[in-house]
Amino acid sequence: MSASVHSYPRPERDQELLGDLLHSLSQPLTSLRCNLELSIDEVTEQQQQSVSAALQQTETVIGMIQLMREYLDVEPGEVEHAAALTPVLRSLGENLSSIAAVRSIRLRVLGTSAAKVRVTESRLRLALQYLMLALIDRQPAGSEITLLLTEGAAGTVLRAQCDRSFLDPESRSAEKGRDRPAQRDSVRATMRRVRLAIASRTLNAAGAALSLDDGAPGFVLRIPHMD
């Protein structure tokens, strides 16, 4: 927690204040979540629906706070770690292919690279997870996503290519085959945008260059050689 916010430059001060706010929010939210979880068995069946709905809403709020925290935690130029790209990408590819397969989407990771990224492994994993999940989420069933690693003179390039255009929100809801309130779709779209912003901020802070052309199916990540 900050003892004296006035000794910092403004951007860091704002970041510290927001961090403190999120820190303070997490305490009552923990109590609320634990209370709802423990209450669910103690109430009548009719009340269970209300408690269950309240628990789901609480978890959505917690998810958003978690995203804000992840966004604030990216600190350019302060990371001394370096994570190897290929093993992280391959491990994620294995885990996410089972998620993609649920929607009959094929996910492939091709190529290899010795590239390292100036970021902790957990942060690199999170950034790539967000990028790949956003692609899976927006691709139509039956499509194919290829992540191709290539090495060149300037560094490594990770290119994500999809063989179809992104789904529009209405088609996505129709594919789901169930009633999805518009508010939920809006929350979903907002959270996806924030996740992409976290991925972009993390990778850019690590010295890589991420190109995300909104609407176009894919991304390009350029990682320069480390000195």
């Binding site: 999120l22 923990t30 979880e37 269970q48």
Partner: protein
């Protein structure tokens, strides 16, 4: 088991006490670092659940004191600080596990069980829930003598559920433990894989083992229910 909860937030401490007592543990609560340190060192506990941000003596100092005198006492840290460096500092100071607020009580309970199991018994290679058997070394599953073929992810999911038989597991807990991914509340991969498992584990048997817990997630029932 006897558990010490060191938490200055009265509401949260009370929910944790209530939840852990419902799981048949004996729970003592300390409201500040000094009291927590004194109780942890003076009384024979099986587990200490320790908040990091305490008035007076902070959680990290309590942890270091405990570690000097009681090397094998499991300590789980609760904190609202989510940065990697904070986590590393806690683990370096001797914490056995680290849970970030706002956590789910079900997650805390599962981790507490894992720590208690680790300190009291060797890892089990054979898991059994009623007539369902899993050999973790040979990676074989059978129910009532009938072999069940599972994919890698299905096996991991069933193993996690068998290890926590009789306990409620949220979708977030499942996706974080089985897929090693940050939970995204909009994905339905857990529900899909639970359905895959149900077809293989429950279909054709008079007793169903996998149950939906409305508003929470899923549970592998240790006592079963007639289909």
């Amino acid at each position: 088991m006897r558990i010490l909860v060191v938490e200055d937030d009265a509401a949260l401490a009370s929910f944790l006490q209530k939840g852990l007592e419902a799981e048949h543990h004996v729970v003592d609560v300390a409201r500040d670092g000094e009291q927590g340190r004194s109780m942890a060192l003076g009384i024979d506990y099986d587990l200490v659940v320790l908040d990091l941000n305490l008035p007076g003596v902070d959680g990290l100092s309590v942890l270091r004191s405990v570690r000097q005198r009681k090397v094998y006492l499991p300590v789980m840290i609760l904190t609202a600080r989510g940065r990697v460096e904070d986590r590393v500092q806690c683990l370096d100071s001797g914490a056995d596990d680290y849970l970030m607020k706002p956590f789910s009580f079900l997650e805390l309970s599962a981790r507490a069980r894992a720590l208690l199991r680790r300190s009291h018994s060797p890892s089990e290679s054979l898991l059994r829930v009623r007539d369902l058997n899993m050999n973790r070394v040979e990676r074989k599953v059978e129910r009532a003598g009938r072999p069940i073929e599972l994919t890698t992810k299905e096996f991991a999911l069933l193993e996690y559920m068998m290890r926590n038989a009789g306990r409620r597991l949220t979708r977030a807990m499942i996706i974080e433990h089985v897929w090693n991914l940050t939970f995204d509340s909009t994905t339905n991969v857990v529900d899909v894989y639970i359905n895959y498992l149900r077809r293989k584990v429950d279909d054709g048997f008079p007793t169903t083992l996998i149950h939906t817990v409305r508003g929470v997630g899923y549970q592998l029932s240790a006592d079963g229910a007639v289909a």
